[in-house]
């Protein structure tokens, strides 16, 4: 029987991939590759029909050759990955050796005779539709397009050996991540319209009152260093999906707008009436944020 493989070092992503696999399956067996016991068990309980658990304490990247070997033997119809940096490296290495295509940051996937996918191009300005006929079909899937399948009967879990590390890993300096932007219900985003760093306090007060998080545009993080990089919202930073996004002094460059396009409601406040953000907003306020924002905070009791 043919198989569809999903590979993820992150538990939640792995479950989404299983749901994606179910969506494109034409009766293929769904096989999950996990790198932790927790991930394997979750996959086993949420729709995988077989789970391979990579058993050693090696980086996911060290398993690429093993996965290639297994793919050459089993010839799966498709292999799906998440969008993490590790996943992108693994997927591209595997696709190269299997001489097949790879669609990265896939936002839509449909299977007819060919696998038809959509992804952004030119920094989010365009949507590109593509067809893959090569086998296996491979893609890295954007997050939160689907929900995990409901819990069901547990599938068997097999441990796999054979990691091959080509690099020497010296250390992993973990981020203490303070950012909760991806999951935030409300996002208050600051841009270059903010005159000075201490004015961030206004944004924090607003976010706190609304039960949200503060993010920024790329220049505020990278050039001004007013916020950590993990807080910048954009096509190569965080993608957010809040109920309400409020842009404060954000001009709305395409790379930033791509990161907020899934927000339910976009409110923009900027002094420049021609700022591109207004093309991307539901509600626009052209004015001085130093007048409007404090007044809003007062009205909210924030």
């Amino acid at each position: 029987m043919s198989e569809i493989w999903v590979v993820s070092e992150q538990t939640g992503t792995g479950l989404e991939l299983i749901a994606h696999a179910k969506g494109i399956s034409k009766g293929e067996k769904i096989v999950a590759f996990s790198f932790t016991l927790e991930g394997a068990q979750a996959a086993s309980n949420h729709g995988a029909e077989l789970v391979y658990q990579m058993s050693e304490a090696s980086r996911p990247e060290a398993w690429v050759n093993k996965i290639i070997e297994m793919a050459k033997a089993t010839k799966p119809a498709a292999i799906l990955f998440g969008n993490s940096r590790r996943a992108k490296e693994m997927a591209a290495r595997i696709a190269a050796t299997l001489d097949t295509g790879l669609v990265t940051e896939c936002i839509k996937m449909v299977r007819d005779d060919a696998f038809v996918t959509e992804r952004y191009s030119y920094g989010g300005l365009c949507v590109s539709t593509e067809e893959t006929k090569s086998v296996p079909f491979m893609a890295t899937m954007s997050a939160k397009l689907v929900e995990a399948l409901p819990e069901g009967a547990a599938a068997p879990i097999e441990t796999i050996t054979g990691a091959e590390e080509v690099c020497k890993v010296i250390e992993l300096r973990s981020h203490k991540t303070t950012s909760n932007l991806s999951a935030a219900n409300v996002v208050v985003c600051v841009g270059r319209g903010l005159a000075q760093e201490k004015d961030l306090e206004l944004a924090h007060r607003l976010a706190k009152k609304l039960g949200g998080e503060v993010g920024c545009t790329r220049p505020v993080a990278e050039d001004l260093n007013w916020m950590l990089e993990e807080n910048y919202i954009g096509i190569s930073g965080k993608m957010v999906k809040p109920t309400v996004y409020i842009g404060i002094g954000v001009s709305g460059q395409i790379q930033h707008v791509s990161g907020i396009r899934d927000a339910k409601i976009i409110i923009a406040l900027d002094k420049n009436e021609n700022a591109p953000i207004f093309e991307a907003a539901d509600y626009g306020l052209v004015g001085d944020l130093y007048e409007i924002l404090p007044a809003l905070l007062t009205a909210l009791g924030a």
Partner: protein, 257 residues
């Protein structure tokens, strides 16, 4: 140390517009440029050889139009350019580009390090450098924002979602670099003038000995349309108090205040 820095000649997305009716991408006003992160790749290579000795060769694969790119690339420090010029590059996907570049690197011979940007500013599929390493049978270190080489050992820092991973690998290797690895130089007039004197080797895909099947894209684009953002575009008007009231109404409706 012999370093090859790969780059792509792309449309400048700042010049691109969308036709509001047909959603077609309008490129008539667009100029080309060396893709952003590839400038970082070239700069990275040049910095490494400035420290450790050696030379950088700039490599690109593209249609005849890409010839103009070489002057820019060579003004940034490489000593020579290799240009794989072939009209089939107009249809190339990442799998084809990677095979073409790998064949070109093999032809250059005795390459210690290949540096690519993490992705191109047009398609940003983030694959070519990684595939390239796989075809060459050498390690790849991806998403690098810090690198050093000593005695044939490369040490790099990868910026991952969970933190910084520090790895070491013996050369030869491939790197894909992030934009925060360096700030690409603005070439001086002297460097720009000097660029036209540097040698450029022009070859075709056939010269590389690739099978025709290798040059067939595995992923084919069937459509490219402007992204649609269906938003209400409502402008709140009035004095500050009115504006605030209107915002509160929206927030209230979502149960936020």
């Amino acid at each position: 140390m012999k370093v090859v820095a790969c780059y792509k000649w792309v449309l400048d997305e700042a010049d691109l517009t969308i036709d509001s009716k047909s959603r077609a991408l309008l490129t008539d006003r667009a100029k080309n440029k060396i893709s952003e992160y590839d400038r970082n790749a070239i700069e990275c290579g040049v910095n490494l050889v400035e420290e450790a000795g050696g030379e950088v060769i700039a490599l690109t694969a593209g249609t005849a139009d890409a010839k103009k790119s070489l002057k820019d690339a060579l003004s940034r420090g490489p000593v020579q350019g290799v240009f794989v010029k072939d009209e089939l590059m107009a249809q190339a996907d990442a799998s084809v580009t990677a095979k073409v570049l790998a064949a070109a690197v093999r032809q250059i011979e005795a390459v210690d390090l290949v540096i690519c940007g993490e992705g191109s500013s047009d398609g940003y599929s983030q694959q070519v450098g990684i595939r390239l390493a796989q075809h060459l049978g050498i390690p790849v270190i991806t998403f690098v924002n810090k690198v050093s080489v000593e005695n044939g050992i490369l040490r790099a820092e990868r910026k991952l979602e969970e933190g910084i991973e520090v790895v070491e690998v013996a050369l030869p290797a491939v790197l894909t670099v992030l934009p925060d690895i360096n700030k690409p130089r603005i070439p001086s007039l002297k460097q720009i003038l000097g660029a036209s004197k540097k040698p450029v080797k022009e070859i075709s895909v056939a010269d590389l000995g690739l099978e025709p099947a290798a040059a067939e894209p595995r992923v084919q684009r069937t459509e490219l349309l402007g992204t649609v953002m269906n938003r209400k575009h409502i402008r709140f008007e009035g004095e500050t108090a009115d504006l605030v009231a209107q915002v509160l109404e929206v927030l209230n409706k979502e149960g936020l205040c």
